[in-house]
Every structure is written in C-alpha cells, then in structure tokens.
Assembly symmetry: C2
C-alpha cells in the first residue's frame, strides 16, 4: 500500500499536502482556513527545533522574553512602513464581552512584534551600559493570508521565532547580523538543509528594514521557500519609537536595531526536501524517535525476542537516544509501514536468529537494501550512533547535490530563458544566478521571465557574489543576483 494517493515522484505538492496529514503532523480540518492543529508527532518535531534554537540563543547570550499578543492600533500606526507592509494582512480585536472595546480602541493581533516591543524597549535603555539589548521570543503570529494556504508553508497562525536586538551603533548591529546568520546556518544544519543565503533587493525588504537577508531552501519543485530572515533596521524604528541612549561622549543617540525571524516553515522544508514515496524521512537530530525497534515474533521464541528488544531499548535510552519499541499487536509489515511513513531514521529488527547471533538488524530509512546491516550487540550504541550520523550527513549531502543541479549560471537573459523553457517541460524548475548591473536590469529579468529576485549571495555565500558582464544589458555588473520562483 503506498503511503499517499499521489507519490512524491509524481506530484510534489499533492504528495506534500497529503503526507503532512497521513504522517499525523497536522490536522487541517479545523474550521478556520490556514489555522491548523499541531498533532503530537508534529508538535514533537517543532519542539525539538525550538530546543535547538533556544540552545543557540542561550549560547550567544540572548534573553528570552514574552510580549503581549495584542497591539493597540496607535502603537501599530507609529512606523509607516510597517503599516504599509502589514496593514491589510492583520486581524483586529474590536469587542470584549458584549461591547466594543472602550474609547473606540482596536487591537491588532500581532503579525510580528516590533510595535509591541519597541514601545517598551526605550524604558529599558538609558545609557550605553544597557546596550546591547539582545532578546528573543518564541510565539505564534497571525497574518491574514488571502492566497492559498498550505500546512507549515503558508498559514494564518504561524509558530514563530523572533530575535530583537538593540545596539549603540551600526558596526555592532551589523556584526550581530552576521552572528544571527551563523545561528541560522547551525539550525539549518540540524535539519540537514543547506540553504541559499541572499541579501534581498530593496523592493523586497522587510517593512522598515535597511537590509534583509533571507535563507532560502530549494524545494523539490525547484521553487524556494524562505524559512528565516535576518534584518538590519538602522535607526528607522528607533526614530519612530523614540529609542535613544545616552552616549558617554556624544549625548543622546538613536539606537541601531536588528531582528531575525524564523518560522514553522522549517518543518515544511524538512518534510518537502527529505521525504520520499514512502513518507517522511527525518534527520536524526530532530526526529522525535531516532530508532524504532520492531520485534519479529514467532511462536515459541516470543519471550526471548521481546526480552532482547527491551534490553536494546533500555541500553539505547540510557545512551541518550530517542527510542520507541513497538510492541503493538500488529504484523511486522504494518509496523514497518507505520514508522517508514513517519520517517524514523533507523529501524532495528530483532528476531530469533538475531537473538541467537547476538546482533540486531538495522535498516536505514534513507536507503534501500544497501542500507541494511547487522549491528553486533556488543557494539550496539556505537553502531547506532554511527548509523544516525551517516543518515544525517547523507540527507544533507543529497539536498546539497540537488541544489547544485538546480542552480544555473546563464551568461545572458536569452540563455536563462532557454534554460527556463527547457525546465518548464519537467516538473522541477531552475534557480538562476546572473551578473546584473542595476535594479532596472533586475526588473527586466523579473518581468521577462515572471520570476522573483532572491538577491545577492550574502552571509556564508558572500564569496559567490562576483559580478561580471550584466546578463541583460552587457555593461559591467558589480553584483551577482539570484532569481527563483518562490512559495
């Protein structure tokens, strides 16, 4: 029985829409479009990602805070670009109990927390000694999506991470942007997801930002999915919210700010990039269960096999692995199917012969027959550790290799169009990297190919920004730009 009605290899998006439900990550039947339920298995994955993020933030001396969900209209109206950017995409609370809110007030349900935080930060910042102020929160944000919603990728209630930090000057703020980009890379590594890091063009920046840098995952369709962005705000918000500090030498100065946002889209990227026709494949670092043990039972040897399975479980749990022993009254075949669908990276089968030979039989989720081998009981922990590390690396490398096949470097717009026409015949599109001299030339690529500018390679990809001869007009181009279709 196939895991989904439509296999991934046939139609990625159809498969995606179905697999997120049959693998019990989410339930989309809640009666508000784009507000889905996190089922236990999905919740565990998201919690593990949050755990890593928290560990990274702790390591880099950020403090967790929690700001209110509701934002009074007058706070929301303080920064003009934000209103322009979010104004028609927010939900409004207008009533409490049986009456309108007092004094004609209305509250925005937070779409992001700038307005809520920056009203309070000035109360916490007096002098240079209060800076840097480095905070983050993990919360849900709300956006009135009018486009088609899609589990994890485009929803109206979004599980969200946001780092809001405040600095005395541009230099320290920009250094923090680099630190945040390094954290993004560490989190993506746990998900076995190499990404394209690009500085967005001016017309696609976050509302209110000076610079926005996104980390985009290349999905199996060749479209990119922005899962994390890091922004330098300059003094734009500081001026709107009166955020100043007293400098030792230069009087009152406006603060410089950075933010870094990341969302449940990471789960969508993991599902989309690593899964196959049999269901999910989860990177061991974030898998709720890294190992499932399936007893292979025959009459007469049941007890010895179950005892061996429990020993295996107890030893692996003691060694710190996340392990499930499936003792349900179902056939081995049903159990294989169940756990393959849910993407458990390593399955250990234990039957009477394995007990006899003092070993377990290990099957890697990311490989076929060639991924099966016996692990001797006296090297159980080391064997499992090695297998899991190999799976994590294989998933990462496989995705990196896929990205490499999708990124093309045409010299001219015509060449790009030809490649694009070729890709249009397949289900998988290309990302184009071209030397582009100006916004005008970038715009003609966008218009001529109906494509979006991801931006200039930045952060860890900085070295790829080499420039050259402009693919559109032939003049000298300082920058290399990436173009893609996006989710």
């Amino acid at each position: 029985m196939p895991a989904t009605a439509v296999p991934k290899s046939k139609d990625f998006m159809e498969w995606y829409n179905e697999v997120v439900e049959v693998a019990e990550l989410t339930d989309k039947r809640y009666p508000i479009k784009g507000m889905n339920i996190w089922r236990p298995y999905g919740q565990r994955i998201m919690s593990r990602i949050d755990q890593f993020t928290r560990a990274e933030m702790e390591r880099t001396h950020h403090d967790e805070v929690s700001f209110p969900l509701m934002i009074p209209e007058k706070l929301f109206m303080k920064e003009a670009d934000q209103i322009k950017g979010f104004g028609s995409e927010v939900f409004w609370v207008t009533h409490a109990g049986d009456n309108p809110l007092p004094d004609g007030e209305r509250w925005v349900v937070r779409p992001t927390s700038e307005c809520a935080m920056y009203e309070i930060f000035p109360l916490w910042i007096r002098s240079h000694g209060d800076l840097p102020l480095t905070t983050y929160q993990i919360c849900n944000v709300f956006r009135y999506e009018t486009k088609q919603t899609r589990a994890f990728m485009r929803v109206r209630e979004i599980h969200f991470f946001e780092d809001h930090s405040v600095f005395a000057d541009e230099k320290t703020a920009r250094e923090h942007v680099e630190l945040d980009l390094a954290i993004v890379r560490n989190v993506y590594d746990k998900l076995a997801l190499p990404a394209l890091t690009s500085k967005r063009p001016d017309w696609d920046k976050f509302p209110g930002a000076v610079d926005s840098t996104g980390a985009d995952v290349v999905m199996p369709s060749g479209r990119t999915l922005q899962c994390a962005t890091v922004h330098y705000y300059g003094t734009n918000f500081a001026k709107a919210y009166g955020m100043k500090y007293e400098s030792a030498t230069e009087g009152h100065q406006f603060c410089h700010q950075t933010t870094y946002g990341m969302s449940e889209r990471l789960v969508g990227a993991v599902v989309g990039c690593h899964g196959d026709d049999n269901g999910l494949i989860l990177p061991p670092d974030i898998a709720p269960f890294q190992v499932v043990i399936v007893p292979v039972l025959f009459k007469g040897t049941d007890e010895a096999v179950l005892a061996a399975c429990r020993t295996v479980r107890d030893r692996l749990v003691a060694a710190g692995f996340r392990v499930e022993l499936d003792e349900r009254n179902k056939s081995s075949g049903e159990k294989y199917y169940h756990w393959e669908l849910r993407g458990v990276p390593l399955r250990l089968e234990v039957g009477p012969k394995d007990v006899e030979k003092k070993s377990v039989f290990a099957a890697r989720r990311d490989m076929g027959k060639e991924g099966k081998k016996a692990i001797p009981m006296d090297a159980l922990e080391a064997g499992v550790r090695e297998s899991l590390a190999a799976i994590q690396k294989t998933l990462h490398d496989k995705q990196a290799a896929f990205v490499a096949t999708r990124v093309k470097h045409p010299k001219t717009l015509d060449e790009a169009k030809a490649l694009d026409a070729e890709a249009a015949k397949t289900p998988v599109g290309y990302i184009f990297t071209m030397a582009i001299c100006s916004d005008v030339c970038a715009a003609s690529v966008e218009k001529g190919m109906d494509i979006k500018t991801l931006g200039v390679p930045a952060g860890v990809d900085k070295a790829q920004n080499v420039g050259g001869t402009c693919a559109v007009c032939g003049k000298h181009a300082k920058d290399t730009l990436r173009f893609a279709r996006t989710y």
Copy 2:
C-alpha cells in the same frame, strides 16, 4: 536601602505589586491593562515550571498538542454552560485587514480550549481502541477581566496549561482525575507550596463540569489563590460535540472527559508565599540561578580570588547546578542586594581568606546569620547540594506551618464569626473548616460572613473530610467544608 518602598511585613499586596517589577519578573507598563511583559528573569521561572509540567505529562503518557487560538462563534456556542460562564469575558476578532470577517463570522480569542479541541477530537476517536486520548497544551489564554488586574494573579493574557483527556467510562475518567491531582501535588512540591485541595461546591464549578477540584495556595494575607483545578466533565461536552466511540459490546457510547488547568498564578504564589522584606526567595528547584558566586576583591589578591571563583563556577556547572558568577564592576554590597532581591537561594562568597583556607563562604537566602557557613572546596558539590535541599525543605515546611496557623476549625458559625472578627484586626485572615450539612447551610455561612466556599477536602486531603455536627443548624453533617476569602 530596602528592596521595596513598602516592606512585605507591612503591606503584603503593596509589596507584591512592587516586588514583581523591581525583581524584573514582569513589566506592567504595556499600554493594555492586564497584558504584561515577561522579562527574562520571570520568563526563566515560568519556563522551568513548564519544564516540570512537561516532564510529569510525559511520564504519565500525555501527548502535547497545539490547537488554534481563534474559535469560530458557532463552535463556541455549542455548549450552553460555557457560553454562560465565559460569554461576557471573551475578546472577539471581527475584522481582517480592512474588512469584516467574511459571512458575518466572529472569532473568540480562546479563553480555554474545550470548544476548539472538542470539535476535532471526534475525528480522532472511532473505537474503544482510540481511548484513552490523553493530551495537553501549553499556550496563552485570554479573559476580559473587569476586576482590578494583578501581575500573575489576575491578568487578561494568561500563560496557561491545559490537559484534555477522553475516556470510555466514568471509572477510568475518575481515576485520571486522581492521577492529575497527584501531578498537581508534584508540581506544587517543586514550588515548595503545600496546598489545600478541595472539591468545589456545585455553584462554583467550571462551566460544563460535573465535578471541579481546586488546589488553593494560602497567601500571606490569609486569602487563597486557586492555581490549578482538575475537572470531571462526565458526558456533558461529549453530547454537545458528538464525541462517541464504538464499544465492543454496547454500540456507540458518549465519551467521558477530564481536564486539568494550571496557570502563571503559580509564579504569583511563589513570589507571594516565599518572599520577604528583602525581595524574592526562590525554591531551588525552580530558581533560574540556584547559586550566585560573589568574589570579594582586594588589591593584590584579585586574580587568585577570581581564579578560585571560576573554578567554583566550573565545578558547579559541571555538577548540573544553575550558577551565576557576578564579575560586574560593583561593590560586594550592591551585588548582595541585587541577588537577594532576585531570590537566588544560595550565595557563595569567595575572598582571599577563603582561598587560603580552601573553602567558600555560603549564605542561605532563607536564613539570617545562622544560615552562613563555610563549605570546604573538597566537598563543594555535596555541600551545595545539601544546602539547596535544605532550603527547598525549609521553604516548604515554613509555608505548611503558616497554613496550619491560618486554618481554624470552629464548631459553630458563631465561633467562626468570633475568630473572624479577631482576625479582622490583624492583616492576616483565617480559613475556616466546618462540618456543614447542606447547600443551604453553606450559603448562610457565605452570606453571614461574606466568605466563599472552597469545598470539601479532596484528593490528598480526602481524609480530612470527616463531617460532624453542622456548624450552622446542628444537624448531622456528612461533609466538612472549607471557607476562605479568595483572590
């Protein structure tokens, strides 16, 4: 310099309102009444409580889920008692972007999640094999409080824990209520808070419940604070939401349900019960920092002292303690004041003499001079562990002793009134435990003394429900009832 303008010993509530801000747990300056900011230190405490709760839920095989915040009006209207109970205390989302929600819809911002969850649970439950369904979520809930708000104790955005479980019959459901009450006790133990567990009278049950049992903390004023409640819903909600299962023998049956709610009030209880005139005193199990190390520096010996401090820190961190080494450029006195205000349970002072004697000087936050002693370096970890355990126990025992002095057992209503009049002259009130034969007699206590019925001793306090001669009418009373003023 005192920690607060008004010491705890003089006016508990004034002190409370101030200490939550000066100890940097919360910021109440956000421009919506009752929606406060969790500052990093408060956030750390709440996170630790959540961690314990999660560990307890994991141990008892509950699955974490996450349901949407918004509840369509028509779902909310399904269970009549809930609407009666919450109808005028909820916030409504009516607009998205520039327009009203489509089709005249309105969404309730969740005040609790029954309506959201019970619309979906029937989709997850088909047969007896799908039961029990044991889930929980940690989220924020919203209530339109019109009374005076108070940090952690009465707010409009509430950090909330809710266990929603579904069973095949009353027996297993009621067993789960007992399990939940045991979990409540384990969590309260971590907070060094003994509680009074009482089954609420019918007129004070949760809207829609058959039975509600609350765990009330006795605050320094003698008023009680309900921080956790466990409910048996019978089939009330199951009937409203069509939640049935197919029994092996008896066809389709309505499910029985339980819930268990708990909130940030726990933080309020910890602050209120354990603090003193110098600020917070945090139980070691939930203290963000269990130990603070303060170097006592003199010219010439600075480096040796700092090196010793770092060794102490590294050893304690390696042993699993949460430790802060205060190397700020401030006087020892300022540092003592700072950490006492924040309630760090154990302070280690290290000066040149301590280095010489190969020991550290330990000061317990919960004691005066008699709590100071040297801990030899070669018994550092054991000495710290012992001190922290002693502090945890002392805080618990002190609160238990306090509760014992406040609970009175008058034989008659007149006796209760006399005790009450006596207590009215002091700042601290009594809780009364009396044999009461009927709702009518309970009502006359409530009315005659302007007091609330907490209910019949239940759960771990069950044995205290002995009954006797009714304190109001003199007839035989099966039950003992508790009465108190509440927050």
